[in-house]
């Protein structure tokens, strides 16, 4: 066990960076391969700037994944959210749930649109994508608690996190709170409600974020354990 751990931490990481050794990596492609640019708009933007194009001209590129399309309906964040909804690899179901969610958001917003008086109608956002982006942004936390043991005692230490992790937490909270509702309501209905609420800076997901921030605030005294 100990040997295995040592191998993982010291030798394997060394091997992965070292290209001369003919070891099998996790990825088929070595790390010097860059990610493909598959969106047409981005490609055209590259062609506009000559210096940027030169930078990529002689780099090896990974092939695009099957779910990467240049369709204008494709969206990176939504793709990611679909993958977070997915259970047991059932992506078809996940996509269906998200599509229904967006449909429900549109129906709800349209109802709101028709129920308000004509002067204020222009202020209502009907686009589910914009609402979704707003919701994810509003739910993104800044700090989280991490267990760090100092002198035999485990402390809950508030720690800032990177953007990726924060976005992941935000989206996962939206899904988990919707799933907590149980089977009485359809997941797509609950998700739609939660996303609209979060976009308006209210609701259960936002409360979850505030609760976490509050705990971090309470554990402010342990903050120095992060580096001491």
């Amino acid at each position: 066990m100990f040997v295995g751990r040592k191998f993982n931490s010291l030798i394997l990481s060394n091997l992965r960076c070292n290209l001369e050794n003919s070891f099998q990596f996790y990825s088929v492609f070595p790390p010097n391969y860059i990610k493909p640019i598959y969106k047409k708009g981005e490609q055209e933007a590259l062609y506009q700037e000559e210096t940027a194009l030169k930078q990529f001209s002689h780099l090896p590129v990974k092939p695009a994944k099957t779910n990467n399309t240049c369709s204008e309906f494709h969206d990176e964040l939504i793709r990611k959210f679909t993958n977070y909804i997915m259970r047991k690899g059932n992506k078809k179901m996940a996509r269906k749930i998200l599509d229904e969610t967006f449909e429900n958001i549109k129906i709800k917003k349209l109802n709101e649109y028709y129920n308000t008086s004509p002067e204020y109608r222009e202020n209502i956002i009907l686009d589910p994508k914009v609402i979704f982006y707003q919701a994810v942004e509003n739910c993104t936390p800044v700090l989280e608690l991490q267990k760090i043991s100092r002198g035999g005692i485990a402390y809950q230490v508030p720690i800032p996190m990177n953007e990726n992790r924060a976005q992941f937490l935000s989206m996962n909270w939206i899904i988990s709170t919707a799933q907590n509702k149980g089977n009485a309501e359809k997941l797509s209905d609950v998700l739609a409600k939660d996303i609209i609420d979060a976009a308006n800076n209210q609701g259960r997901v936002i409360k979850k974020k505030y609760d976490m921030h509050k705990q971090c605030e309470a554990n402010r005294a342990y903050a120095h354990y992060r580096w001491l």
């Binding site: 309906f73 229904e100 649109y113 009907l126 686009d127």
Partner: protein, 368 residues
């Protein structure tokens, strides 16, 4: 007689106008290019093809109870009902076929509107399979031995027929021509009005199927005599000609549709022994349990059903043409259902959906 009927028949195949119904919120002042101000389908001409028109809300309200869930949802979203339509009505038996989601049911809805405007007596059977697939109560028929009644659905249908033919029933003044004996005490005398007969069927649940039979017979006789014109519209007709239903008899075995009492009624309503009316039927893969391989009527109706209907006018309901496709997207944009779709996106939708109305609707659901 057949020749005269053929000569009267006027059919423009294939193309349709896209129609919507019942708008209160749509302002009447400025009409966009894809809409038609004329809401009477009898007065539409060539220029109205592949454009949208609105049906008055009272007709939508009466049709609402028997529309499909998806259509009801659309009606709520757009504050109106989306629908498809043929150009002219046919004076003969005709049979629509087409792949799923192409707009068969919705084109029937437009024909109903046409019939109601033209003062037809409309016998609309919304989706035959609902009778056979989800039978609430199947009991032995008190009138015909060895047959099974579906009283609950029959009562519901009678209510629906009464609702949509409110005007026709009050204006046409139809009378029964013979005496119907339901039981020892309950007798409908000849010369009683048809609405009373329908009312009796609604109140006496037990005899609802018998009443349907009587109503269809009376209407056939009345239209042959020239007192009224009848429009028979049946969606998913091939459920009647399939070999099995979900209805169980007292031995808990599934029965064929011939053993259900309403089957013979509706088969006789599309028979050739009456005139002065029209029958428009659709066949659909989803309407029967046993035949699922092809969309064509010869296969779906089976030999027996085909011979019963023959000769009929086959009409193929097709996917949207390019004009219609553009119109419907414009309509979605007008109703705020989609907005930021570029020309490339439209092209993509066109290719993904193959201009199939239902698939296009499904694809547009999550977009904006």
């Amino acid at each position: 007689m057949l020749d005269s009927l053929f000569s009267r028949m006027c059919l423009r195949n294939g193309r349709r106008t896209i129609i919507t119904a019942a708008t209160k919120d749509v302002p009447d002042t400025s009409i966009p290019w894809f809409r038609i101000s004329e809401s009477n389908p009898a007065e539409h001409d060539e220029s109205c093809l592949s454009r949208i028109y609105t049906i008055p809300s009272d007709i939508t309200a009466s049709l609402m109870s028997n529309m499909t869930l998806e259509l009801r949802k659309q009606t709520e979203i757009f504050r109106e009902l989306v629908n498809f339509n043929y150009k002219k009505i046919y004076d003969l038996t005709s049979c629509d076929n087409g792949i799923q989601g192409v707009g068969k049911t919705t084109s029937l809805l437009h024909l109903i509107h046409y019939g109601l405007v033209k003062r037809y007596f409309v016998l609309h059977l919304p989706w035959v399979q609902t009778w056979f697939r989800y039978p609430r109560d199947a009991v032995a028929s008190p009138l015909e031995p060895d047959k099974i009644d579906l009283p609950e659905s029959a009562t519901k249908w009678l209510k629906y027929i009464k609702e949509i033919n409110k005007v026709a029933l009050s204006q046409l003044d139809l009378k029964t021509t013979k005496e119907y004996t339901w039981s020892q005490r309950e007798i409908t005398k000849s010369g009683e009005s048809l609405s009373n007969l329908i009312e009796f069927g609604i109140q006496r649940n037990k005899f609802a199927c018998g009443v349907i039979n009587a109503v269809v017979d009376e209407l056939k006789m009345a239209s042959t005599a020239g007192k009224c014109r009848t429009l028979v519209i049946i969606d998913g007709f091939n459920a009647f000609t399939s070999s099995i239903t979900h209805v169980k008899d007292e031995n808990h075995t599934y029965v064929p549709p011939e053993r259900i009492s309403i089957t013979s009624t509706f088969l006789s309503s599309v028979d050739y022994n009456w005139c002065n009316g029209a029958a428009i039927l659709t066949v659909d893969k989803r309407a029967n349990k046993d035949r699922k391989d092809s969309d064509y009527p010869t296969y779906l109706l089976g030999k027996k059903g085909f011979e019963l209907l023959d000769p009929f006018l086959p009409i193929c309901v097709e996917n949207y043409s390019l004009d219609e496709f553009k119109t419907i997207l414009e309509y979605y944009k007008d109703r705020k259902w989609i907005k930021n779709i570029s020309d490339k996106g439209q092209r993509e939708l066109e290719l993904l959906s193959n201009k199939n109305p239902y698939q296009l609707w499904a694809l547009c659901k999550p977009l904006y």
